[in-house]
């Protein structure tokens, strides 16, 4: 089970802030995916292959993409997501556009 690791006091404050934001994005991505595809959130882990974890096909992936874009108010060009299949990397791509 994934646990957010955002409060290591030995990290510089800037890094802590960035990590916190990234973890928050990751958390929201997983919550949103779980809610949209009706999967219990506790069954999802950051490094899961989301195609398998959510049981989705390519068309449903487009739905997820649209959901995420609308939620985070960002644009995610398809080509940036090629090869991305886990929640953590996906969250990183979103974070990079926030």
């Amino acid at each position: 089970m994934w646990k957010a690791q955002t409060h290591n006091p030995t990290w510089p404050s800037k890094l802590r802030t960035d990590m916190s934001n990234t973890d928050q994005v990751l958390d929201e991505v997983m919550q949103l995916a779980a809610s949209h595809f009706k999967v219990p959130p506790e069954k999802l882990s950051p490094d899961d292959d989301f195609f398998k974890a959510l049981g989705i096909d390519s068309l449903q992936t487009l739905d997820l993409l649209t959901k995420l874009e609308n939620h985070f108010r960002v644009e995610l060009p398809d080509y940036e997501l090629q090869g991305v299949s886990d929640f953590r990397t996906l969250a990183g791509k979103i974070q990079a556009r926030l």
């Binding site: 068309l59 487009l62 644009e75 997501l81």
Partner: protein, 287 residues
């Protein structure tokens, strides 16, 4: 003016059969007329891919449209399928053409097909009715082009638009580029065409393609409400306003057909289509 509809007019049915034109249930689409609005529903599984069968029924529709136009003020085009509005051309059929006719002959076959579908698109584009595409989900390629012939696009917030043709070594062939160029700045057209990236309803509204973005599952309801409003206006004025502001780019449409036919005979297209048809990729629409 409905220039390219001449051939269609010649096939108009006698008045006695006009009543039967008020509704139609086909294999790929259906239509009906209610309260002055014609509703054209696409319902070919899996995602309303436009091939010969759909084209044949669209031709029936435009023949009926000529008759029904006098009784209606609006046309709504929508999809009954949950997954989206339309994924575009039937790529499997396109690939079959290449296999069947060979690369040397496929361009001739493609030209005949494209001229037919352009005739359909041009009739809807120039229809004196006010036309609305109510879209949701996948609105790709030929589906996007079908939406672009309409006067207004009302999009579910989960709609997604894309011209993926360059992935196949082709350009959009159903009139997409000239119609995009009619509506948008050239830089935006280049972005959509040359990157082949998909974009959502908010972006589509931001760049001026979509007139209203609505909640999930609300596009058809809002389109009907819009059509009801249009019914309050004088039809002659509305049709004149449309003719004034929405010229059909005939010359560029013809050049698009020519370019498509030049491109389709290349080995790269056969390879691109083969890759798509045989793909087991989990993300063929994003590849």
């Amino acid at each position: 003016m409905i220039g390219p509809a001449t051939n269609v007019k010649s096939s108009i049915q006698p008045r006695e059969s006009a009543l039967s034109m008020e509704q139609f249930q086909g294999e790929t689409l259906s239509w009906n007329v209610k309260d002055g609005t014609i509703e054209l529903a696409l319902h070919r599984e899996p995602l309303n891919e436009i091939g010969s069968l759909t084209l044949g029924e669209l031709e029936k529709f435009i023949a009926a449209l000529e008759e029904l136009g006098g009784e209606a003020h609006a046309l709504i085009v929508y999809s009954t399928l949950k997954s989206g509005f339309c994924a575009g051309a039937d790529l499997r059929e396109l690939y079959q053409w290449i296999k069947q006719f060979g690369r040397s002959e496929v361009a001739n076959h493609a030209r005949t097909y494209l001229e037919r579908i352009h005739r359909v698109m041009n009739v809807i584009d120039a229809s004196p009715l006010t036309t609305i595409a109510a879209v949701h989900g996948v609105t790709f390629g030929g589906g996007f082009e079908l939406a672009l012939v309409c006067d207004l696009i009302i999009a579910d917030k989960m709609a997604r638009f894309c011209f993926p043709e360059l992935r196949l070594g082709l350009i959009p062939g159903y009139g997409g580029i000239p119609r995009l160029k009619r509506d948008l700045g050239n830089a935006v057209v280049r972005d959509l065409l040359l990157t082949g990236r998909s974009f959502n309803s908010n972006k589509a509204q931001q760049i001026g393609l979509v007139s209203q973005v609505v909640g999930e599952g609300e596009a058809l309801r809002v389109a009907r409400a819009t059509a009801a409003q249009l019914g309050k206006f004088d039809r002659t004025t509305a049709a004149a306003a449309k003719r004034f502001i929405k010229p059909i780019p005939h010359e560029e449409l013809q050049r698009e057909i020519d370019l498509f036919c030049e491109l389709i005979a290349r080995p790269a297209v056969e390879l691109g289509l083969k890759k798509f048809v045989e793909s087991t990729d989990t993300q063929p629409y994003l590849a």
